[in-house]
């Protein structure tokens, strides 16, 4: 993981999210209040715009700037959760040394753990954590395993399955939880956007 990797991922994710924005917006209008997609898009735009400011910075500083930008520029649940994710990654030790695949996995795992604590949500509650927690568990298996390309294909699969599994869940956290039975039958918008992010990053790592 490097600063240029972060910037190129942000750009690819922005493209994928934009392509799927109509779908996510509709999902959120069905069971939320419709702000999720705008928050995600605003956040990605802010991060992409940081390119000139962070491209020559050490990784820890760049992650910290991204965290502050995300935390102060997005708002809503997404801002707090993704801000927490980057803040935690920025606090990882030894970021001045080479960050290899295993180290990157560890950083992402600790970031997702912090998101879970901030949102107090677990698997099965119809939120983005339904995608992120299983992905984090899989990454934990993959690190220190030489065959990470095969493993990342499994991560892509897990993310998609877990995203789809939110469709028939009752929500117990977030805006959708106020709906009870009426939230059933709709995929959680946060789970969908998280799955798209995971999908984009994994494919790019596999193809490089």
């Amino acid at each position: 993981m490097s600063v240029s990797f972060l910037i190129s991922q942000a750009k690819s994710i922005q493209k994928v999210i934009d392509e799927n924005s109509a779908e996510i917006e509709v999902l959120d209008q069905k069971i939320g209040d419709g702000d999720h997609i705008f928050n995600i898009q605003r956040g990605l735009k802010l991060v992409v715009e940081l390119e000139d400011a962070i491209k020559d910075l050490p990784l820890a500083k760049a992650l910290n700037m991204i965290a502050m930008k995300v935390l102060s520029g997005i708002g809503g649940s997404s801002g707090a959760l993704f801000g927490t994710f980057f803040m935690t990654m920025a606090k990882s030790s030894d970021l001045d040394k080479d960050v290899d695949f295993n180290k990157a996995c560890e950083m992402i795992i600790s970031g997702i753990k912090a998101m879970k604590e901030r949102g107090k949500a677990d698997v099965g509650e119809k939120t983005m954590m339904d995608v992120l927690l299983p992905v984090s568990e899989k990454l934990n298996e993959l690190k220190n395993n030489g065959e990470f390309k095969t493993g990342l294909n499994e991560v892509i699969k897990i993310a998609e399955e877990r995203m789809l599994s939110t469709k028939d869940m009752l929500a117990t956290k977030g805006r959708a939880s106020f709906l009870g039975e009426r939230a059933k039958g709709h995929i959680d918008p946060g789970a969908r956007s998280s799955q798209l992010i995971i999908d984009t990053i994994c494919k790019s790592v596999i193809n490089n």
């Binding site: 917006e25 209008q29 939320g32 209040d33 419709g34 702000d35 705008f38 928050n39 605003r42 502050m68 935390l71 102060s72 520029g73 997005i74 708002g75 809503g76 649940s77 997404s78 801002g79 707090a80 959760l81 801000g83 927490t84 901030r118 949102g119 009752l170 929500a171 117990t172 956290k173 977030g174 805006r175 939880s177 106020f178 709906l179 009870g180 009426r182």
Partner: protein
């Protein structure tokens, strides 16, 4: 979408700037990070009250900054929780050393961002969470009830106690009592349109209403055919009374709140219907509030809040207040 708007990116900034100019005798508007604060510095020893939330609910919360109510308000983007740096900056700006009480509506995004703001602020602080919406069943399986219109009452009543030198602990205790004593439920006839979305948040038929709607247009208990006001008001009150169970001869405040698109004429009709129904049930109404205080952009609809009042609550309700949206006694 028909709105007074120049471009979406500047929507909130332009509105806030105008708010600041229109009420420059009472408040200041700070941009980047955005917060509204009192024109006059918080007096020494007075606990500071800070609230906030997504924009689109005006006059909540910026319209309640001023003597007898809030010290600062942090507006987020339309219907999105504000960010932690806003709360931190507002707290640093207004705290006179007596501590800060954050008043937060029970929504995941608001809770998380206020929590982070409180962690980032080094001064003494505490929080209260409002959750007065009886449309949502309170159970261990949900985030809990939503915080809606009773937040206005909490801000007014605790604001008075803070003005009368109540400590941080006393202010929190009173705020929790007001929240516990209040129940709210709303009905929507039309959707609202978030500027960034450009189209209505939900589809609803000309002859339909959403019973138990949330203040962001979130679906409520059920979608029904529209009914006469008396029937709608009766159903809302039934849900509230079921929850609050006021004692006979207990004093109550009746608050009819417009969602933004319903004229005052109708809100007063709702108030009349509610008074009659409550009287027939032996529920005494001693205080009133009618108007657009906790809105959902241009949504047509209304919510009713009932607040059980003891002497302490009544005293602080009547105390002088001078804000952009609420003013009496001074």
């Amino acid at each position: 979408m028909k709105k007074f708007i120049n471009n979406n990116d500047d929507f909130l900034k332009e509105s806030l700037t105008g708010f600041g100019k229109a009420h420059s005798d009472i408040i200041n508007v700070n941009l980047d990070p955005s917060f509204v604060s009192r024109k006059n510095k918080t007096k020494d020893g007075k606990v500071s009250l800070i609230s906030g939330g997504g924009s689109g609910h005006e006059p909540m919360h910026g319209g309640f900054v001023g003597h007898g109510m809030l010290d600062a308000a942090c507006p987020g983007f339309v219907f999105s929780a504000p960010t932690p740096d806003q709360m931190q900056a507002a707290a640093e700006h207004v705290d006179s050393g007596a501590g800060v009480l954050f008043i937060v509506k029970n929504y995941s995004g608001d809770i998380m961002n206020f929590e982070m703001g409180a962690e980032m602020y080094s001064g003494k602080n505490d929080s209260i969470i409002t959750n007065d919406d009886v449309a949502v069943e309170d159970s261990t399986f949900t985030t809990g009830r939503r915080g809606v219109a009773a937040t206005v009452l909490v801000e007014k009543i605790v604001g008075s106690l803070a003005e009368h030198n109540g400590s941080l602990e006393e202010c929190k205790k009173l705020g929790e009592k007001v929240n516990k004593n209040a129940g709210t439920m709303g009905v929507a006839f039309t959707s609202c349109t978030v500027p960034a979305a450009g189209k209505p948040t939900f589809d609803i038929g000309d002859d339909e209403m959403e019973f138990g709607v949330g203040i962001h247009g979130e679906p409520g208990r059920k979608r029904e055919k529209i009914q006469p006001s008396k029937t709608i008001v009766g159903n809302i009150l039934e849900a509230i009374l079921d929850n609050l169970k006021p004692e006979k001869n207990e004093k109550n405040l009746l608050f009819v709140n417009g969602m933004g698109g319903t004229p005052l004429t109708e809100l007063y009709l709702v108030y009349e219907d509610a008074c009659q129904i409550l009287q027939s049930k032996g529920v005494e109404v001693t205080k009133s509030l009618v108007g657009n205080y906790c809105t959902s952009l241009e949504m047509q609809g209304a919510s009713i809040t009932l607040l059980k009042c003891d002497d302490e609550i009544l005293k602080h309700w009547d105390a002088p207040v001078h804000t952009a949206a609420m003013r009496w006694g001074m």
